[in-house]
């Protein structure tokens, strides 16, 4: 049985994959996330999140061409799948609907 839940960090990575579209691979996701979150992360966390989400069917991957950088290793690009997009939408809807219920109280 496949687990369809989405962890907090996974959600961030999935958002980033969707945002970067076609340019999302390990290092670019890491860099963007680090910039947005303002803290340093380890690449393994990103890799694990990507791998799990690929198993859950939220992202799809393909290999790029061989270059002389990266020790001759190809980049693995990720794109969000329809299911992944739906998941993001649901999450967004959920949060938004609850957020809207917050009474307008001014904190000041």
């Amino acid at each position: 049985m496949i687990d369809h839940s989405l962890g907090e960090f996974e959600e961030l990575v999935l958002l980033m994959v969707a945002a970067l579209h076609d340019e999302a691979y390990g290092v670019s996701i890491l860099d963007e996330l680090e910039a947005k979150l303002g803290k340093s992360l380890n690449i393994s966390a990103v890799h694990v999140a990507l791998k799990r989400m690929e198993n859950k069917g939220f992202v799809r991957s393909r290999y790029g061409g061989i270059t002389s950088d990266r020790g001759g290793r190809r980049k693995k690009y990720y794109v969000v799948t329809a299911l992944g997009k739906k998941m993001l939408d649901t999450q967004y809807e959920l949060r938004n609907s609850i957020y809207k219920r917050i009474p307008k109280i001014s904190f000041g």
């Binding site: 380890n42 393994s44 890799h47 799990r52 950088d69 990266r70 020790g71 290793r73």
Partner: protein
Amino acid sequence: MIRPPAKASAFLRWFCREDCIEEVEGDLIEIFDKEAIQFPQRARWKFVWSVIKHFRPEYIKPLGKFNLKTIAVHKTYFTIGWRNLLRQKGYSAINIGGLAIGMMVAILNGLWIFHELSYNQYFENYDRVAQVAESGIRQENGEPYLATTMTFPLSTALRENYNQHFKHVVRTTFSMEKILTAGDTKILSAGLSADPEIAEMLTLKMIRGNRKALEPMHSIILSKSIAIALFGDADPINKTVRLNNSSDVKVTGVYEDFPGNTTFSDVKFFTPWSLFVTENKWIQQRALTDWRNHFLRIYVEVPEDQTYDVVSGKIRNALHFAPEDIEQRKKENAALTLYPMSDWHLHPTYVRQGQMQPLLMIKLVGAIGAFVLFLACINFINLSTARAEKRAREIGVRKTIGSDRSRLITQFFTESFLIVVLSFAVSLMLTILILPLFNKITTDQVRIPFTSAWFWVSVILIIFITSLLAGFYPAIYLSSFNPIRALKGSLKTGKITSIPRKVLVVFQFSISVILIIGTAVVYRQIQYAKDRPVGYDRNGLIMVHKRTDDFTGKYQILRDELKKTGTVYEVSESMGPATQMYSNNNGWQWGNHEPNWDQSFGTLAVSALHGKTIGWEFIQGRDFDPAILTDSSGIVINESALKFMGLENPIGEPVSWYWWTDKSRVLNYKILGVIKDPVMESPYGSTEPAIFFLKGHNGSTSWINIKIDPKVSMSKALPVVEKVFKNIVPAVPFEYEFADEEYARKFGKEETIGNLATFFAILAVLISCLGVLGLASYMAETRVKEIGIRKVLGASVAGLWRLLSVDFVWLVLIACLISAPVAYLLMNQWLQKFEYRTGISWWLFVETAVCATAITLITISYQAIKTARLNPVKTLRSE
């Protein structure tokens, strides 16, 4: 350009799944490259850290995918090795059996050596406890000595003026046997009187009470075994124990018995030093300031930050001499020294004549263990190279298909490893089975330390060394075959290839023959000393030690009662048991000589009729006669004394004895008789000149000797004697010793060595025979066709038997020739330690050679005759 750490990359590639490696390694390198421009060191750390962080289930290959090829190859090594084992069951049995016996000997010897080397290590302060000793150079022979019996004033000085250099200074007595009585239970046991700090110094493991338990004057601490013997399951604390039927002490503690490999293993209880001093009035009266009276031992514990050398330097001035001795002791260069606990067992102060230095013994046992193991390895080498032709084709095929030499070597090593591991399992079982017997022979308590890590490390070492030793040559030899020749079947198996095998067989038999000869010589020496004329009759002689004052004034009535029973031939008293010489004295004067201070005579106070009781053999003169009053100033001397004195007509000659501390005290004697030398000390040494008297300067009689009437059997006489003792001295348990048993004890060590040598010799011969059996059956197998043809042409079974045996007989004879001189040299050297020794005659070598040849012939004959009797029709049919 900086590269990422190679080891981390290699690790990543080793564990990471194939479908992830592109992404993971690529990303890691990209990050590394970016960062390395600015912070190369940080980039490296980060790379390593990231690799480690990727080492998680999602990225690790499934187990089966690891090194798939190598695992399979290793598996085939074992499979094929196992099949080879099963295919040749007979050879495998010989191999495993021989190796197992060899390893068993190695294990036993290793355990014994460990047991010896760990002597006294039971005590936690092993490294810091020492005995105070006097060292110096003996004037007579220029040899160094180390004396450990000390004087009272020295102990006082060390305890009072030098105690800042020590953690503890403890005085003890010698271990003394005492009668312990609790209620109706009486037991005889050895113990020490010691200062209370002994408990801390020897780190007694207290089961009851604490390490201060010896502080009250009337206290005693018991070992667990004695506590159980005296009180059973009841709580011994605060119970009263009576010592030697005279003083009552209270049990204040119970400690764990000392193990067998400690110097104090015979000590079963401790009583306070203060009690010892109080009960022995003479100490207060004479010994407190006497620098000549040596009667106690002093043990010290040095502080953790000190060395023995430093401390012994600091106490040098504590030693004083009596004014009369100063000159002599200065000449001897006498000085105080510390004799560390670690040396007590391995470097004893005194080695009895003929006995071996412990370190030498350890080396010898180690060498024998190694040699026997090596013999077993030789079997393995011989059998596997001899059988090489059987596997030549297999090797040829393997090489043709593409197996390289290292693979083949690994294959053969794996096979020997397999055999060694199996042998080890067998040998461990054998060791467990045989250990009780081994302990009985060595009178030690060797155990297998299954819980010790060191034991298992050594086990693994033994397994590896043995597999290397046994597997090395066969692996190199077998893997060197030329595949073409091997496949054609034209592999040379002639004379040259069998030479190393023959050399090894000769070597093997040489060792066995040396062990046989050694064993024979040890036994001959013991027998020779046992057959030595003893000068008195030990049969039917029992000796009773008068341990307590309960005997005082009871001797005459005891003697009368014993004689009345009709089972006792004669009774006498003596200062020591008949089988031992207890004291030595100088100051004898005879003829025109000055009093002789250099030569000490063995001296023994006896009662009249002692000669009749123990059966002295008189050469001249007569025994003391109780009816003649003047005999109280008579002496009996032995033959050695006569020779030393050089008297022509000894009977009636006057002899005087000057007392060493007070030369005005003189005793005048007349010689009554001369007896044949009684052997009272080492049966291997020459007899010391000895003088027997009724009344002397020192020493009273403390032993009763009872000669049972030869017409009465010992089993009938003992209860009668016991009854008399029970009636007259009821307070003392009737404890006696047989003179013949006591005498036999003098041979204990040598007999142990003899028994051990037999044990090893039998095993060595067994291993060698196993090897020969294997080789012989193999030879017979390869020559089966030749023998068939010979039979067809008319050869007889006897002729064929000779044909098959003669090769081996030659090898054994060569081995005998080689080993005879070696054995002669070794054993001759051993015999030199004994003054009274047997020679090694040439027929011993002949006997051994005949024996070895006979054993070999018997071993191979079975195989040879079986082969010679095969039907040639059957053996020749296949071609």
